[in-house]
């Protein structure tokens, strides 16, 4: 099986602080991987590095066989590498419907059209309606994002990533800030993803991790200390040590 996503020897330091230390990860089509680790371990930085939002000091990022290390975020997304943000990034004055329509139009190469309205495009509207429905956002589809609850914004953040139909999907704490009652929606949305899609999810909620992931990677102080099956991760001595004392306090932090 050929890897769809390879990260090789990635390194990044902020000032003197080495936040990413020689990280290598390979994802195959269909992978369901959880990336866990204490707060400040460098998980978000890893996503920023591989998606082109930050420039690594060294290392390579290979997407579907192409070296994309020198590319910016935009071309990487076009090649199928899509991420969600840990702290929601949305357009406050636009509606969920507009967000998703824009994403669908972008994916299908129509976001630059200067005439015509998205609501007049049945294929766009059908896809938007489906995404809204999957994440339970239909009833607030035409409200401004600044007026909807943070939990709903989190769900929209995920819907936006799905609308881009990625080959590799990186979710940065998708369930953080989502009310417990709505996490099943996230799980349902993830369960409905194409089976050949590779997903890497950063998540603190271990129940969610164990239900979702077939493989768990643990990052601590910028280095991978474990890469294996969910069954083995809790038994691993180094993982326990890394989490000791810190994990209990982590969930509330941003």
């Amino acid at each position: 099986m050929s890897a769809v996503f390879q990260v090789q020897n990635l390194k990044k330091a902020f000032g003197g602080l080495a936040v990413t230390q020689d990280v290598s990860i390979t994802l195959n089509p269909g992978d369901r991987v959880a990336l866990i680790g204490p707060n400040g371990a460098g998980k978000t930085t890893f996503v920023n590095l591989v998606t082109g939002h930050l420039v690594p000091d060294s290392g390579k990022v290979i997407l579907a066989g192409n070296d994309v290390t020198s590319l910016g975020p935009t071309p990487r997304v076009r090649q199928g590498l899509v991420r969600s943000f840990q702290v929601t990034r949305l357009f406050p004055d636009m509606t969920p419907e507009e967000h998703l329509a824009l994403a669908v139009l972008q994916r299908t190469g129509r976001s630059g059209t200067i005439f015509g309205h998205y609501q007049a495009k049945p294929d766009v509207m059908a896809e938007v309606a489906e995404l809204l429905h999957t994440l339970g956002l239909d009833h607030i589809a035409t409200r401004r994002v600044s007026e909807i609850a943070y939990g709903q914004q989190r769900l929209l953040e995920i819907a936006l990533a799905l609308a881009l139909k990625p080959k590799v999907l990186l979710l940065d704490e998708p369930a953080a800030g989502v009310p417990q009652s709505d996490t099943p929606r996230i799980e349902a949305a993830l369960a409905g993803l194409p089976s050949d899609l590779a997903v890497l999810m950063i998540e603190h909620d271990m129940d969610l991790v164990f239900r979702f992931a077939k493989r768990v990677i643990v990052l601590a102080a910028g280095a991978i200390i474990f890469d294996g099956s969910p069954a083995d991760v809790t038994k691993d001595a180094r993982v326990r040590e890394a989490y000791l004392g810190s994990y209990a306090n982590d969930r509330s932090a941003a």
């Binding site: 935009t74 357009f91 004055d93 976001s111 059209t113 200067i114 015509g116 509207m125 881009l164």
Partner: protein, 336 residues
Amino acid sequence: MAAVEHTSIAKPVQSARPNWLARDLIGVAVILAVAVLGYFLFPNNLALLTRILAIALLVLSIDLVTGFCGVATLGHAALFGAGAYAAGIAAVHWGITDPFLMIVIGAVGGAVAGLVSGAVILRGHGLAQLVLSIAVVHLFHEAANKASTYTGGSDGLAGISPDPIFGMFGFDLWGRTAYGFAVALLVIVFVLLRLLTRSPFGMLCRGIKEDPIRVRAMGASVHGTLLKMYVISGVVAGIGGALNAISTQVVGLDSLSFTLSAESLVMLVLGGTGSLYGALIGTVSFMWFEDFVSAANPFHWLTIVGALLIAVVLFAPRGLYGSAQLLLERFRGAGK
């Protein structure tokens, strides 16, 4: 890529659609009514009214990049002046005196100027962007000054005599034809811009203004989109410049000036950024007020204009249109 699935999920959103169409028609009707009113109220001042309409195109054009995309510029007269000189040079040196052709040439001149200045200005961000825009308009001004064989330099480019429109309506001394031509152009541009701002491209621009990082994460090019908007903005400003050249029959270096750039940005802020109506209201109120106050008090009019601006920025930061809209919303909210 897989074909899009058509699901059976109900879409009740579809029904309330032509709402904005009705609103646009009302908007156009209001513009036309104001234009007709102006014609009958100020029959001896049609030249000023026509200039207001030409400047309104410039202010709309600034609104496209500043109000809709969040790019600050103090050099937008470069696009307006480029359109004016392009149309003027075409008429004087190449004998192209058909007014419609002159407008097209002005639009192309403005587009090219938009491409050039956009390519420079978009290299910077924030304050650097503003400084670059000032530098650009000064360079354009200097270039026009130096190329005096074509532009007439500081004497201006005179001798523009456009043909009658449709061979029937000559550009008369009273400026009736010019005024009618200007109103028609403004309405057409306005309608096209309403469509533009609602299009997918318009949404993308709003997105860039609100969060460019999110736009990149959606796979859209921020720089490419902004540059495209700059070119479109150049078309609009260029039409305004060409209109000014046709109606006044001269082009001067002031059409490429920093002063005009700054004043038109002020007009936009006065009316309210991010709304086409705001741009129009800002232009009309500023230019009318300037004309009125400078006639009433020729010594202190600049002071009065300055004081008014400070009052608007402090007490109505959304501009005249934005604040009126806010008041109306509150009023409606209270009425429930």
